[in-house]
Symmetry: C2
Subunit: 374 residues, 2 copies
Amino acid sequence: MNAEAGTTAAQPPTIYDVARVAGVSIASVSRVLNGQGNPRADTKERVLQAVEELGFVPDGAARALSARLKEVVGVVVRRPQAYSASMFTDEDENLQFPDMINRGMEIVAQRHGFDLLIRSVDLDEPDAGRLVFALARKSDGLILHDRVLSPEQLDALSRQVPVVTLAGQPTPTTANVQSDNEGGMRALARHLIADHGYLTIGYLAGHEGSPDSLARGRALAEEAAAGGAILFTGEAWRGSYQAAGGAQAIEHLIVSGSGLPRAIVCANDQSAIGVLHALALHGISVPGQVAVTGFDDIPVARHLRPQLTSVRQSIQELGATAFETVYSMIGRGPDFDGSARGRDIALPTRLIRRESCGCPPESIRPLAGTGSGG
Amino acid sequence: MNAEAGTTAAQPPTIYDVARVAGVSIASVSRVLNGQGNPRADTKERVLQAVEELGFVPDGAARALSARLKEVVGVVVRRPQAYSASMFTDEDENLQFPDMINRGMEIVAQRHGFDLLIRSVDLDEPDAGRLVFALARKSDGLILHDRVLSPEQLDALSRQVPVVTLAGQPTPTTANVQSDNEGGMRALARHLIADHGYLTIGYLAGHEGSPDSLARGRALAEEAAAGGAILFTGEAWRGSYQAAGGAQAIEHLIVSGSGLPRAIVCANDQSAIGVLHALALHGISVPGQVAVTGFDDIPVARHLRPQLTSVRQSIQELGATAFETVYSMIGRGPDFDGSARGRDIALPTRLIRRESCGCPPESIRPLAGTGSGG
DNA sequence: GCCGCATCGGTAAGCGCTTACCAGCCACAC
DNA sequence: GTGTGGCTGGTAAGCGCTTACCGATGCGGC
């Protein structure tokens, strides 16, 4: 029967093959593998041996169809589809954040035997809804990185499948996970104003309408008001969460002759990288003349010159929490009351003081001690 | 009928619902949706309207089972599962490379209507084989980032499902995709030796046994021999592809009093970052006293001080090519001759000269002009 | 006006698995 | 020795979809 044992691809063995080899019915095989019922020791052993011998692993689709559980969570990331034929217009820099979140999800997912089904949706995809719905039918639950759906679409979707948003807004049928923007930004603002005495501060925002950027800006504005500092803001202070955007904004400010504030607070680390770059080009010293801060504390933040002061969110934990949340919503059947739905989960943040705000350099310890406490 | 339109999750509509609403049979619905046969205009329209009305999207598992095509490609990445309960021991730095490759895959995958099923396998997972096989049964094909399987396992796997490895070795039943390590390293080596006249060079290797690291080291050694340069190598020169490893190695060299070579060639950019860090700690100027180079040209390479000279591989294209390769192997049936199998695809690399090797700083243009030709 | 052919659409089988249900079997007790 | 209860394991019914197969239907030609 196994005549085709050549280099040709053989069909993977099915449960029928196992049953035949073990001399039992397919039901028994299934029961042994899923720990249902009380198979006799004898039966169990024969099945396991056959499984071993054939290298049998059940087909995912068949199992999913029958068990009504795919053990897959879909993840939607909104990204520029820069790849064109054989060249990338630019190897995009805004990489780390969503990917690190995904990693956090992966780790937890694996513990539950789930996998992540990743789909990236083009920034200007006209029919994003269809793509997301299609992904939903391949998964047991969905995690959305960015706002890709209209509120109506989101509502319709979340009625069919558990949905968790990241840095979005909870709805009656979806949960949301984000980090504590407000707390982090307040701590940072107080540090700049109270500890360093900076009284003019510019806020380089992120994408227009980004909830994260808005929340951070709001907290900063309040602290500035409370601390008697002046906040520079407005159209000229719009970044894009990307290094290029940050650099561009600062470049414009310098060239146009508008004065720079004593401190520049960026909506994220990526744009802070761009700001540092632009300032360096013009010979403006950081933090001597202008202090710069980021948000996220991505790994490279500590390798920049000067080392970047930032607000750390445990990025992977963000992903881990998002996954745990969808997971808790999965498989509860249609009349699950959705205890996790409508919830808004905020993860703690922590201010990381480094050189770029005016604090002394971080550590004397060599980098080799990365793993050491701190 | 839709009495349960409350906040309760409703079961997604099935093809039966659509058929009922449209007043046709499920076969017609399927035919309309899949463009089989010649449905009458009338029929077609009624079906489409019903689909629209119900928001029907076919279930992935059912479709996969029936059509014998899941439209999913599994991706295996080997990573430390650092996440522990509520803290990450360290937000790992070796992030960018595999994730950027995955992005390249995503983009192309989406064009073919495929999604990526990501599973990360712990570095010291004892039974990685089982995990990978399980993933295989959820996918139509597999892309392996790292060596996780024994040759026998790989062979068994590739007999059941198309497999492409990245930076591995092709086998009669698998294809491999990698970048042209040899060409890139030769160009770099010649530049250092011929253009800059460096005659002592240290090669900071990557993981033990990494094919990439070995190929790069070999090419460097040959060029050094040809150019009359002395290559520092050996146990002390082993990194780990990570910043910490690179820093540690250099730290040891300095502390132990062994002299440093005139140029340090790192197996990748991450370890070069560590090397720069360690040298900076000891006040050794780069490239004045010691030149440093990386490999990969990850995005941050240009933001380091000094900007890092590196060998660019189009990382996303690596992923894109890997995907196209598995894709071409999928669905050809068991007697497909496997035209892509056993192939070894090498993508071109390009030397990027920046400050750290001794060349003048890259550009006067502000970063904002990222997209400009280089 | 009737028959033959081409076309459309419905019926049903089957993808590989899980599991409800029930028949058969064994061991024990009377 | 026979009756009964408790397990075990087999049979079969789906899960939601695709598609081979064939009957029904409509048109043109004679």
